[in-house]
């Protein structure tokens, strides 16, 4: 046995170690019409891991995220999340999702927006109020909760979306390009919060095309034209491609991934 991590051994171990595995994507493909968007994607993400999906826009990151949540179903392959098969309505309670576009109600205030989504997830009364204050504090929006969201800046909307994704304290956090339009200071504080969540055992799946964010992930999958071209820690990926920066590694794998 020369290969330690052959595909068969990793998938057979997943059933025994499913307690430690948050997300298991096995051989997933999805096409829209005749156009294949994802081809034979396999990934495993452990509990308490920050896992990055790094790829240019149009590479299929968002499609993969939608499959993981269960908004869409794969043509082939299987996705298991927190030990359950996707799609499942009960799973959605345990996931926090932040979409690429800010899905917020402009007429409502920041507080009303968080309260609405929290109510859909079953939060009520005093607990609901406490969580709203807590998450608003976290994304530094406490002073703006009374304002209608249409008056928010782009960065404020991003932060509010994050607060919405966190309000029910999910076990898995799925963030699609979370820090677009957020200034460096706030971006740093958001990543510090993600680190704290990870320590508490929250698994985080994050898509990005920003290289310095990719560096902060525990492990990364490089995605190009709907295929995973490489998986590993940032250091492993840099070493394996003989690059000194993430950017060079990304370019190197990008070339290799092209058919």
């Amino acid at each position: 046995m020369s290969s330690v991590l052959s595909p068969s051994s990793s998938s057979s171990s997943s059933s025994s170690s499913s307690v430690h595995l948050s997300l298991d994507v096995a051989g997933v493909s999805r096409s829209f019409g005749k156009r294949p968007v994802l081809e034979n994607i396999s990934l495993s993400v452990g509990r308490g891991e920050i896992f990055g999906l790094l790829g240019p826009s149009g590479s299929g990151k968002t499609t993969l995220v939608r499959l993981v949540i269960g908004l869409d179903v794969p043509d082939r392959g299987d996705i298991r999340l927190l030990g359950e098969r996707v799609p499942s309505l009960s799973l959605l309670r345990r996931i926090g999702y932040m979409a690429q576009s800010d899905a917020l109600y402009g007429e409502l205030t920041g507080r009303e927006n968080i309260a609405f989504f929290a109510a859909l997830l079953g939060l009520r009364g005093r607990e609901l109020k406490r969580r709203i204050e807590e998450k608003a504090e976290l994304v530094q929006l406490s002073d703006h909760l009374h304002k209608p969201v249409r008056l928010y800046s782009g960065g404020m909307k991003r932060r509010l979306s994050l607060a919405v994704a966190l309000v029910h304290e999910p076990e898995l956090l799925v963030l699609d390009e979370p820090t677009v339009g957020i200034d460096p200071v706030l971006r740093k504080s958001i990543w510090e919060e993600l680190d704290r969540l990870r320590v508490r055992g929250v698994t985080i799946l994050v898509t990005t095309h920003v290289m310095d964010e990719a560096e902060k992930c525990d492990r990364l999958a490089m995605i190009r034209d709907g295929r995973v071209t490489a998986v590993g820690t940032p250091d492993e990926l840099k070493a394996a491609s003989g690059s000194s920066t993430m950017e060079d590694a990304f370019v190197a794998y990008g070339k290799g991934g092209r058919p």
Binding site: I69, G70, L71, D72, V73, P87, S88, L89, S90, L92, R93, I95, Y97, A99, S101, D102, A103, L104, Y105, G106, F117, L120, L121, V164
Partner: protein
């Protein structure tokens, strides 16, 4: 040069948006054709029931083109009049005659009076002594055109605005991404539709109450039947508009395309809601009316407001409207599968 760039861009955009192009070019032809059939229908001949009418008078009336039916006694004839089968009853007794008009449709009343007068003039002056006294079953001859059309317009206006407002807000839920965000929570698809129904339902109740209160209290529209029943029917009609609007918004990419449903879905309903006399339409055309919610809503509203129709008369309309709402809501739950499969 700059104007040219703008012109070329608009032409390009139009050519790419087949749907808008089709609407601009073909929809007017469809609507015009429909209008031709609807408005070109032969004039309705008034239906007159007669009791003990001398033969020469009946013959003279028949010559004017009136639709005649002879009844054995006046009780039977009055029953037919009340049931809406006749527009008028002409009862002759000895040297006296009485003309009883149904009275809820002013156009029909005028037609009856015209043919009766025509018949009298056609007979020789001696027979002309038989001048009938005139009585109205409803409205006492005071039913004016606004009473007749107004009760239908109440339903139509309510339908139109609820359809648009509900459609556009559901569409915005989709285009702003909040629908996807909603579906990333454990909310069921049926719950999304039900929530919309209840949320908007509250405002449609307020709207229905306001429109009807205004029409009756301020504009003085005739109301023979119960206000509560009018409100109920208007509410059922608004619910059909609400479910239809939210369903059709699934097939619009933007607000502009939502407005395109107006000439296709809303305008044809005007033709079949009783603003034009349906009796003269060919059967195939009337069948179209039977699949439109407004047809049932208008039928019920007219019945209640002009003819004091009760629940036992309008329950089939209520059932039809509730059926439409259930159908549209169910289809909408299915249409949401496009956004989340479970």
């Amino acid at each position: 040069m700059r104007i040219r760039a703008l012109t070329v861009r608009i032409i390009r955009q139009f050519l790419k948006d087949r749907r808008t192009l089709a609407l601009l070019l073909i929809a007017p032809l469809l609507l015009l054709t429909l209008m031709k059939f609807v408005l070109d229908s032969p004039p309705v001949s008034p239906k007159i029931g007669t009791v003990h009418l001398p033969r020469e008078i009946a013959a003279a009336l028949g010559q004017t083109g009136a639709d005649m039916a002879s009844y054995g006694d006046s009780g039977e004839a009055m029953e037919a009049l009340r049931g809406g089968k006749l527009d008028a009853v002409l009862v002759a007794a000895d040297a006296h005659a009485e003309l009883v008009l149904e009275g809820s449709n002013p156009a029909r009343s005028r037609a009856v009076l015209a043919v009766v007068q025509q018949a009298m003039q056609a007979l020789n002056p001696a027979a002309g002594q038989l001048r009938p006294s005139i009585r109205y079953l409803r409205g006492n001859g005071g039913t004016d055109t606004f009473d007749y059309y107004g009760c239908v317009l109440v339903g139509f206006i309510s339908f139109f605005f609820v359809f648009l407002v509900a459609g556009v807000s559901f569409l915005r839920e989709r285009t702003t991404g909040t629908l996807q965000r909603l579906l990333a929570t454990p909310l069921r698809r049926g719950e999304v539709v039900a929530g919309y129904l209840l949320g908007f339902g509250l405002f449609t109740i307020v709207q229905a109450t306001l429109i009807i209160g205004f029409a009756i209290g301020v504009l003085g529209i005739a109301l023979e039947g119960s206000v509560a029943l009018v409100l109920l029917m208007n509410l059922l009609l608004a619910l059909a508009a609400l479910t239809l609007g939210t369903l059709l918004s699934a097939y619009a990419q933007n607000e502009f395309q939502m407005f395109q449903f107006i000439p296709l879905v809303v305008v044809p309903q005007i033709f079949f809601c009783g603003l034009v006399d349906l009796d003269a339409m060919p059967t195939w055309l009337r069948t179209i009316g039977n699949i439109l919610p407004l047809y049932y809503g208008a039928d019920a509203l007219r019945g209640i407001m002009l003819r004091a129709a009760g629940w036992k008369d309008v329950w089939p309309d209520a059932l039809a409207l509730a059926g439409f709402s259930a159908l549209f809501a169910g289809l909408n739950v299915l249409a949401l599968r496009k956004h989340r499969r479970i």
